[in-house]
Symmetry: C2
Subunit: 356 residues, 2 copies
C-alpha cells in the first residue's frame, strides 16, 4: 500500500474508477482527489478536445493528482452491416419520439491524440482497459514518468500488462460493474468470470506488480480485507455513482437505490462488449430478440441516442444502468467527502504497518 | 472468530466442506479434525447405515469434533419421464462398456433417519445445503445442542436460515466449487451468482449470526483477508480434494493439477442442480444436446453409473470434476496436516485480537 500511496502521491489507497459516459464530471474527479484518493476522468469515449476541456476543469478544482482512463483497443470502425439491429432499435426510437437510426455508422479512434493530451497536460497516472497500449505509446508515457495502470480479468492479461511495462494492475473481479475489462471477448463472450478474491490471490502469487482490487467493493471492511490479503489499494465505481458530484442522472440514481445485490446481469446489448448492469426491459428484449449484437464500439454507437433519450425522459428501462454486485448496499446520495471518509480512516495505515 | 472456535471447540477457524460422493473419507475428516480444524462427512447422498458406519470410522481416528453435512431438501423421487435423457446417456454407457440405463428411477430420502443418526451419535455440528431444515428437525437437533450451520448464496436465504434458528451461516460465493447452495433453482437456474467478497459484506451488514466465508479460498492470505473483513471462519473444499487422505480418484486429481483459474464452469448436466466443475466433454455435449436436464436428484441418479465408470477407467471427460475457481493454484498432493498448517498459523489469532 505504501508504494501505491507514495508513487501516486495520494493519502488513501482508493481509486475512483474511470467510468465513461458522463459520470466522471470534473466535480467528481476533483472532489475524490481533494479527499486524498485518486480521481479519474473516464475518457474512453471522449474526443481529445473534450478531454482537454475536462482536464482543465478538474485542474481548476484541485491541485492534487488525478488519472485519465482510456481504452487500450482500437475504436476506429466504419460499418454498413447494421440494418437488422437498426430496425430493432427503431422501435425504441419511435416509442421515445426521437429520430430514426442512420444506415451507416462511423467511429473515430483518438487514442494517440488522447495520450498526447495526457502527456502535454502532465497527468501523472493513465489507466487502461480492454488491452495493452502499443509499445510506442507506453514508451512515450514512461519517458514522461506517467504511471501506467492496466486492468486485467485473468492472469494471462495481468502478465501481458506486466511484460509491457505497466506499473500497477487492477484486478477486476466478476462482481465489478460496467464493462468487463477482458481483452479477448471472442474467447470469453461474457467476459472472464473470476471472482475478485480468487483473482487478487492469483495475481499476488504470480505477478510482481502491486495489485489494486476492483469489483463489488463498497464498504470499509472489504477494503481492510483486501489490504490485509495483500492488495495495494482498491478501485470503486458503483459507490461513486451515487456521489452528489457524479454525473449520474436521476432515474439511474433511483434505480441504484432500489436495486438489490442480485439485480445485476452481464450483457453486451448496449455496447457489443460484456458489461454488468441492472437488469431492465432493454436488456431483456434485446437478449430475447435473437439478433446478434454488433461488435464494440458499433453497438455502443447505435444505442447511444436511445440511452440518452432514456436519461432525458427519466426512463430507466432503456438506459445502461451500469452497476456492480455491491449495488445492494447503496441506499442514499452522499458527498464524495462522506464516501471517502466512511471508507478509510488514516489509522488503517498504521494498523497495516504494524501487521506487515 | 473466537465465538466459532469456542462453540465448535476447534483451534483453527477452518471448516472442510462436506463434499458428497466419496471424497470425504473417514481418513480425511479425522485428519482435518486432528489438525485443529473441523472435518465434515459429506452425507448428502449417504444411506443412514453408511453414515453410521462412516461416523464410527471417523471416531476410531479422532476424538476431536467433526460435522455431518446433509441436504435440506426433499430427495424422494420416482420418475418415469426419463426416456429421452436415458437415450442420450446410453451412448456414453455403450462407449464405456457398462449396462444400459433403466427405464425408471427411484431415489429414497433418508433425511429424518440421518438426523436421528447424527443425534444418536452425538455429532456436535450439522451443516446443510439447498434449503432450511424443517422446524421439527431443527427442534430435535437444538434440544441436543447440535450446532446448525446453513449455507446461503444470497441475503434472503441467510435471513431464512437465521429466522429458522441456525447458529452459523456459510456464505457460499459464486467462485465455490461443486453444487451451488441456492435454494430456489427455478428462480436462479444457474444458482445465485454473487461473489464471496460482496456476499460476506452483505451478511455482515444484515444478519446477526457469525459468517463463514466459502468459495475459491486456497491460501492463507485469503483467509486473513476474510477474517479481517469480519468473517468468523472459512470453509474450503477444492484445496482438500488434493489431500492424500481424500477419496478423490486419480484422473480427477490429474485434472485438478492441470487446471487453470478460468477452467471451471457452472452446469446442471450431472445432477439437475447448478454446480461448478472443470469443463469436459460430458458437459459440452449435454449442454449442446438441447435435451432438458431432469430435476435434482433424478439427473444425479441417471448419470451416476457413467461418472463411476469414468472414475474406474480413469476417464476424466465423463466425470463430474467439481472444483472452485481457486483450482488454478492447486499444484500437488499434500497431507491434510501440511494443508492446514500452510493455511493458518496460531499467531493469526493474536493479530486478530490486537486489531479488533
Amino acid at each position: 500500500m505504501e508504494q501505491l500511496l507514495e508513487k501516486m502521491n495520494i493519502e488513501k489507497p482508493i481509486i475512483q474508477a474511470g467510468m465513461a459516459g458522463g459520470i466522471t464530471t470534473p466535480e467528481l474527479v476533483a472532489a475524490v482527489s481533494n479527499a486524498g484518493a485518486l480521481g479519474t476522468i473516464g475518457a474512453g469515449y471522449m474526443s481529445p478536445s473534450s478531454l482537454k476541456k475536462t482536464i482543465s476543469e478538474v485542474k481548476q478544482r484541485t491541485d492534487r493528482p488525478f488519472a485519465v482512463n482510456i481504452f487500450a483497443t482500437n475504436l476506429e470502425v466504419f460499418s454498413t452491416e447494421i440494418k437488422e439491429m437498426q430496425q430493432l432499435l427503431n422501435a425504441y426510437r419511435k416509442e421515445l419520439g426521437i429520430e430514426m437510426g442512420r444506415e451507416q455508422v462511423k467511429v473515430k479512434d483518438y487514442l494517440q491524440e488522447k495520450v498526447y493530451t495526457v502527456i502535454k497536460e502532465k497527468i501523472p497516472v493513465v489507466s487502461t482497459a480492454f488491452g495493452v497500449l502499443s509499445s510506442l505509446l507506453i514508451d512515450r508515457l514512461k519517458q514522461r514518468d506517467v504511471l501506467l495502470v492496466g486492468m486485467a480479468t485473468n492472469l494471462d492479461e495481468a502478465l501481458l500488462l506486466q511484460d509491457a511495462g505497466y506499473d500497477f494492475i487492477v484486478a477486476q473481479g466478476y462482481e465489478a460493474g460496467g464493462h468487463r475489462g477482458t481483452f479477448n471477448t471472442d474467447q470469453y463472450p461474457d467476459g472472464c468470470d473470476i471472482s475478485l478474491n480468487v483473482l487478487v490471490q492469483s495475481f499476488l502469487e504470480n505477478i510482481s506488480l502491486p495489485v489494486i482490487a476492483a469489483g463489488g467493493i463498497h464498504a470499509k471492511e472489504q477494503i481492510e480485507g483486501f489490504l490485509k490479503q495483500g492488495a495495494s489499494g482498491v478501485q470503486l465505481g458503483t459507490r461513486f455513482l451515487m456521489a452528489k458530484e457524479a454525473g449520474t442522472n436521476d432515474s439511474y440514481r433511483r434505480a441504484l437505490v432500489k436495486a438489490d445485490y442480485g439485480d445485476t446481469v452481464i450483457t453486451n446489448v448496449f455496447s457489443g462488449r460484456p458489461a454488468r448492469a441492472l437488469g431492465n426491459r432493454f436488456i431483456n428484449e434485446l437478449e430475447q430478440s435473437g439478433i446478434d449484437r454488433l461488435p464494440f464500439p458499433i453497438q455502443n454507437e447505435l444505442t447511444k441516442d436511445i440511452r440518452a433519450a432514456g436519461a432525458s425522459y427519466a426512463n430507466a428501462e432503456v438506459q445502461s444502468l451500469w452497476a456492480g454486485q455491491g449495488v445492494g448496499a447503496i441506499k442514499e446520495e452522499e458527498t464524495v467527502e462522506e464516501i471517502i471518509s466512511s471508507l478509510f480512516h488514516q489509522e488503517n495505515i498504521h494498523l497495516e504497518k504494524v501487521d506487515s
